[in-house]
Amino acid sequence: MAKFVVTATNVTMGGEDISTACARAELVINAAEVETTDFGSGGFTEVIGGLKSGTLSLDFHQDFGVDAVSTLFLDTVGTVVVFTLVAGNGTAAGTDTPLYTVSCLITSFTPVSGAVGDLGTFSVSFPTTGAITYATS
Protein backbone atom coordinates (compact mmCIF):
# COMPACT_ATOMS: atom_id res chain seq x y z
CA MET A 1 0.00 0.00 0.00
CA ALA A 2 1.31 3.39 -0.96
CA LYS A 3 0.60 6.70 0.66
CA PHE A 4 -2.73 8.06 -0.43
CA VAL A 5 -4.95 11.12 -0.50
CA VAL A 6 -8.28 10.64 1.23
CA THR A 7 -11.09 10.99 -1.28
CA ALA A 8 -13.34 8.03 -0.78
CA THR A 9 -13.66 6.65 2.73
CA ASN A 10 -16.72 4.44 2.64
CA VAL A 11 -19.14 5.21 5.49
CA THR A 12 -22.35 3.39 6.32
CA MET A 13 -24.84 4.08 9.08
CA GLY A 14 -27.28 1.33 10.01
CA GLY A 15 -26.57 -0.30 6.67
CA GLU A 16 -27.16 2.87 4.63
CA ASP A 17 -24.24 4.08 2.53
CA ILE A 18 -23.80 7.75 3.45
CA SER A 19 -20.35 8.21 1.92
CA THR A 20 -21.32 10.77 -0.68
CA ALA A 21 -22.71 13.10 1.99
CA CYS A 22 -19.65 12.71 4.21
CA ALA A 23 -16.70 15.11 3.95
CA ARG A 24 -14.57 13.91 6.87
CA ALA A 25 -14.37 10.73 8.92
CA GLU A 26 -12.30 10.07 12.01
CA LEU A 27 -12.30 7.10 14.36
CA VAL A 28 -10.23 7.42 17.53
CA ILE A 29 -9.53 4.45 19.79
CA ASN A 30 -8.36 5.26 23.29
CA ALA A 31 -7.15 3.31 26.30
CA ALA A 32 -7.46 4.75 29.79
CA GLU A 33 -4.27 5.37 31.70
CA VAL A 34 -4.25 3.49 34.99
CA GLU A 35 -1.46 4.64 37.23
CA THR A 36 0.75 2.07 38.90
CA THR A 37 3.36 4.42 40.27
CA ASP A 38 4.86 3.21 43.52
CA PHE A 39 7.96 3.60 45.68
CA GLY A 40 9.85 1.41 43.21
CA SER A 41 9.13 3.62 40.18
CA GLY A 42 12.41 5.50 40.50
CA GLY A 43 10.85 8.93 40.59
CA PHE A 44 8.81 8.47 37.39
CA THR A 45 5.14 7.76 36.96
CA GLU A 46 4.13 4.36 35.65
CA VAL A 47 0.90 3.55 33.88
CA ILE A 48 -0.78 0.54 32.36
CA GLY A 49 -3.60 0.40 29.84
CA GLY A 50 -7.10 0.37 31.23
CA LEU A 51 -10.47 0.17 29.56
CA LYS A 52 -10.62 1.01 25.88
CA SER A 53 -13.08 3.42 24.35
CA GLY A 54 -13.65 5.11 21.03
CA THR A 55 -15.01 8.23 19.41
CA LEU A 56 -16.38 8.51 15.90
CA SER A 57 -16.39 12.00 14.36
CA LEU A 58 -17.98 12.74 11.00
CA ASP A 59 -18.60 15.91 8.97
CA PHE A 60 -21.54 15.94 6.59
CA HIS A 61 -23.11 18.04 3.89
CA GLN A 62 -26.65 18.67 5.03
CA ASP A 63 -29.44 17.08 3.02
CA PHE A 64 -33.08 17.09 4.10
CA GLY A 65 -34.28 14.79 1.32
CA VAL A 66 -36.22 11.59 1.92
CA ASP A 67 -33.86 8.99 3.49
CA ALA A 68 -31.02 11.54 3.35
CA VAL A 69 -28.58 12.09 6.21
CA SER A 70 -30.69 14.55 8.15
CA THR A 71 -33.56 12.09 8.46
CA LEU A 72 -31.21 9.25 9.37
CA PHE A 73 -29.74 11.15 12.29
CA LEU A 74 -32.98 12.76 13.45
CA ASP A 75 -34.64 9.36 13.74
CA THR A 76 -31.80 7.80 15.73
CA VAL A 77 -30.91 10.33 18.43
CA GLY A 78 -30.68 8.45 21.74
CA THR A 79 -30.20 5.06 20.15
CA VAL A 80 -27.22 2.86 19.32
CA VAL A 81 -26.42 2.57 15.62
CA VAL A 82 -23.81 0.49 13.82
CA PHE A 83 -21.37 2.39 11.61
CA THR A 84 -18.83 0.91 9.24
CA LEU A 85 -15.86 2.66 7.75
CA VAL A 86 -13.67 1.31 4.95
CA ALA A 87 -10.44 3.31 5.02
CA GLY A 88 -7.87 3.68 2.24
CA ASN A 89 -10.46 4.78 -0.35
CA GLY A 90 -11.86 1.28 -0.55
CA THR A 91 -15.40 0.03 -0.78
CA ALA A 92 -14.84 -3.40 0.77
CA ALA A 93 -12.55 -4.90 3.40
CA GLY A 94 -9.07 -5.70 2.16
CA THR A 95 -5.50 -5.69 3.37
CA ASP A 96 -5.05 -2.12 2.11
CA THR A 97 -8.60 -1.06 2.85
CA PRO A 98 -9.42 -2.10 6.41
CA LEU A 99 -13.01 -2.25 7.54
CA TYR A 100 -13.85 -0.88 10.98
CA THR A 101 -17.19 -1.65 12.55
CA VAL A 102 -18.36 0.35 15.55
CA SER A 103 -21.57 0.79 17.49
CA CYS A 104 -22.20 4.37 18.54
CA LEU A 105 -24.66 6.08 20.84
CA ILE A 106 -26.19 8.95 18.89
CA THR A 107 -25.87 11.55 21.59
CA SER A 108 -26.58 14.70 19.62
CA PHE A 109 -27.47 16.04 16.22
CA THR A 110 -27.50 19.59 14.90
CA PRO A 111 -30.08 19.75 12.10
CA VAL A 112 -29.81 23.50 11.51
CA SER A 113 -26.43 25.14 11.15
CA GLY A 114 -24.65 27.56 8.85
CA ALA A 115 -24.16 31.19 7.96
CA VAL A 116 -25.38 32.96 4.86
CA GLY A 117 -23.45 31.88 1.80
CA ASP A 118 -22.02 28.76 3.43
CA LEU A 119 -22.51 25.22 2.26
CA GLY A 120 -25.01 23.59 4.60
CA THR A 121 -23.06 21.20 6.82
CA PHE A 122 -23.16 19.54 10.20
CA SER A 123 -20.66 17.68 12.31
CA VAL A 124 -21.25 14.84 14.74
CA SER A 125 -19.10 13.12 17.32
CA PHE A 126 -20.29 10.00 19.10
CA PRO A 127 -18.90 7.70 21.78
CA THR A 128 -18.60 4.08 20.73
CA THR A 129 -20.17 1.32 22.76
CA GLY A 130 -18.79 -2.19 22.87
CA ALA A 131 -15.88 -3.52 20.90
CA ILE A 132 -14.47 -1.86 17.81
CA THR A 133 -13.80 -4.57 15.26
CA TYR A 134 -11.32 -4.55 12.43
CA ALA A 135 -11.32 -6.72 9.32
CA THR A 136 -9.11 -7.02 6.26
CA SER A 137 -11.13 -9.55 4.32
Binding site: T7, T9, N10, V11, T20, C22
Partner: protein, 134 residues
Protein backbone atom coordinates in the same frame (compact mmCIF):
# COMPACT_ATOMS: atom_id res chain seq x y z
CA UNK B 1 -23.22 12.60 -12.07
CA UNK B 2 -23.95 16.07 -13.39
CA UNK B 3 -23.16 16.83 -17.01
CA UNK B 4 -21.10 19.99 -17.43
CA UNK B 5 -22.51 20.79 -20.86
CA UNK B 6 -26.04 20.48 -19.51
CA UNK B 7 -25.17 22.72 -16.56
CA UNK B 8 -23.83 25.43 -18.88
CA UNK B 9 -26.76 25.14 -21.24
CA UNK B 10 -29.37 25.37 -18.49
CA UNK B 11 -27.61 28.32 -16.89
CA UNK B 12 -27.71 30.03 -20.28
CA UNK B 13 -31.40 29.20 -20.58
CA UNK B 14 -32.08 30.82 -17.19
CA UNK B 15 -30.03 33.86 -18.16
CA UNK B 16 -31.87 34.12 -21.46
CA UNK B 17 -35.16 34.73 -19.67
CA UNK B 18 -34.07 38.36 -19.23
CA UNK B 19 -35.88 40.31 -21.89
CA UNK B 20 -33.53 41.66 -24.55
CA UNK B 21 -30.45 39.77 -23.31
CA UNK B 22 -28.94 37.01 -25.42
CA UNK B 23 -27.14 34.19 -23.66
CA UNK B 24 -24.38 31.85 -24.77
CA UNK B 25 -23.44 28.54 -23.18
CA UNK B 26 -20.27 28.46 -25.26
CA UNK B 27 -17.84 31.30 -25.85
CA UNK B 28 -18.84 32.84 -29.20
CA UNK B 29 -16.20 33.97 -31.71
CA UNK B 30 -18.03 37.16 -32.41
CA UNK B 31 -20.48 38.06 -29.62
CA UNK B 32 -23.38 40.33 -30.40
CA UNK B 33 -24.27 42.53 -27.40
CA UNK B 34 -26.16 42.60 -25.22
CA UNK B 35 -25.12 39.07 -24.36
CA UNK B 36 -24.30 37.00 -21.29
CA UNK B 37 -21.57 34.42 -21.78
CA UNK B 38 -21.18 31.44 -19.44
CA UNK B 39 -17.53 30.48 -18.85
CA UNK B 40 -16.25 27.68 -16.62
CA UNK B 41 -13.43 29.05 -14.46
CA UNK B 42 -12.54 26.08 -12.27
CA UNK B 43 -13.77 22.81 -10.84
CA UNK B 44 -13.17 21.65 -7.26
CA UNK B 45 -13.38 17.88 -7.01
CA UNK B 46 -13.84 15.57 -4.02
CA UNK B 47 -15.89 17.83 -1.78
CA UNK B 48 -17.28 14.67 -0.19
CA UNK B 49 -16.28 11.03 -0.04
CA UNK B 50 -16.77 8.83 -3.13
CA UNK B 51 -17.14 11.87 -5.41
CA UNK B 52 -20.19 13.04 -3.50
CA UNK B 53 -19.73 16.74 -4.25
CA UNK B 54 -18.15 18.64 -7.12
CA UNK B 55 -18.06 22.45 -7.09
CA UNK B 56 -18.11 24.23 -10.44
CA UNK B 57 -17.05 27.86 -10.45
CA UNK B 58 -18.38 29.88 -13.38
CA UNK B 59 -18.07 33.44 -14.51
CA UNK B 60 -20.86 35.06 -16.45
CA UNK B 61 -19.73 38.03 -18.48
CA UNK B 62 -22.53 40.32 -19.55
CA UNK B 63 -21.48 42.52 -22.43
CA UNK B 64 -23.42 45.54 -23.61
CA UNK B 65 -22.72 47.92 -26.45
CA UNK B 66 -20.86 51.17 -25.97
CA UNK B 67 -22.68 53.32 -28.48
CA UNK B 68 -24.58 55.25 -25.82
CA UNK B 69 -22.47 54.88 -22.71
CA UNK B 70 -24.85 56.34 -20.16
CA UNK B 71 -27.69 54.23 -21.43
CA UNK B 72 -25.48 51.14 -21.42
CA UNK B 73 -24.36 51.82 -17.86
CA UNK B 74 -27.97 52.03 -16.78
CA UNK B 75 -28.57 48.73 -18.55
CA UNK B 76 -25.70 47.18 -16.60
CA UNK B 77 -27.07 48.73 -13.39
CA UNK B 78 -30.26 46.78 -13.92
CA UNK B 79 -28.35 43.56 -14.67
CA UNK B 80 -26.35 43.96 -11.44
CA UNK B 81 -29.40 44.48 -9.22
CA UNK B 82 -30.19 41.57 -6.87
CA UNK B 83 -33.85 41.72 -7.86
CA UNK B 84 -35.96 42.95 -10.72
CA UNK B 85 -36.86 41.79 -14.20
CA UNK B 86 -33.35 42.54 -15.54
CA UNK B 87 -31.47 41.00 -12.60
CA UNK B 88 -28.85 38.49 -13.71
CA UNK B 89 -28.75 36.99 -10.21
CA UNK B 90 -32.50 36.51 -10.11
CA UNK B 91 -32.60 35.01 -13.61
CA UNK B 92 -29.80 32.49 -13.08
CA UNK B 93 -31.17 31.52 -9.67
CA UNK B 94 -34.72 31.15 -11.03
CA UNK B 95 -34.11 27.39 -11.16
CA UNK B 96 -31.41 26.63 -8.61
CA UNK B 97 -31.22 22.92 -9.38
CA UNK B 98 -31.16 23.43 -13.17
CA UNK B 99 -34.06 21.00 -13.54
CA UNK B 100 -32.50 18.54 -11.11
CA UNK B 101 -29.07 18.44 -12.73
CA UNK B 102 -27.28 19.98 -9.71
CA UNK B 103 -27.80 20.25 -5.96
CA UNK B 104 -27.72 24.02 -5.80
CA UNK B 105 -26.26 27.15 -7.33
CA UNK B 106 -25.71 30.70 -6.23
CA UNK B 107 -24.72 33.91 -7.95
CA UNK B 108 -22.24 35.13 -5.37
CA UNK B 109 -21.06 38.47 -6.64
CA UNK B 110 -20.72 40.91 -9.44
CA UNK B 111 -17.23 42.29 -9.80
CA UNK B 112 -18.52 45.54 -11.17
CA UNK B 113 -18.46 47.21 -14.53
CA UNK B 114 -15.58 47.81 -16.85
CA UNK B 115 -14.49 48.16 -20.39
CA UNK B 116 -13.47 45.09 -22.40
CA UNK B 117 -12.20 44.67 -25.92
CA UNK B 118 -13.59 41.96 -28.15
CA UNK B 119 -12.38 41.67 -31.74
CA UNK B 120 -10.94 45.19 -31.56
CA UNK B 121 -14.26 46.60 -30.39
CA UNK B 122 -14.69 48.20 -26.98
CA UNK B 123 -17.69 47.26 -24.91
CA UNK B 124 -18.95 47.78 -21.40
CA UNK B 125 -19.27 44.61 -19.38
CA UNK B 126 -19.95 43.24 -15.92
CA UNK B 127 -18.79 39.90 -14.61
CA UNK B 128 -20.74 37.68 -12.24
CA UNK B 129 -19.39 34.80 -10.18
CA UNK B 130 -21.57 31.71 -9.95
CA UNK B 131 -20.92 28.67 -7.76
CA UNK B 132 -22.64 25.43 -8.67
CA UNK B 133 -22.74 22.41 -6.35
CA UNK B 134 -23.28 19.09 -8.11
Amino acid sequence: MADLTVIRTRMATNLGTISGLRSAAEIPDNPTPPIGIIVLESVDYDGAMQGGLTTYNFSVTVIVGRAAEREMQRKLDAYCQPTGSQSVKLAIESDKTLSGEVYDLRVERSSGMGSITVNDQNYLAAEFTVTVLA
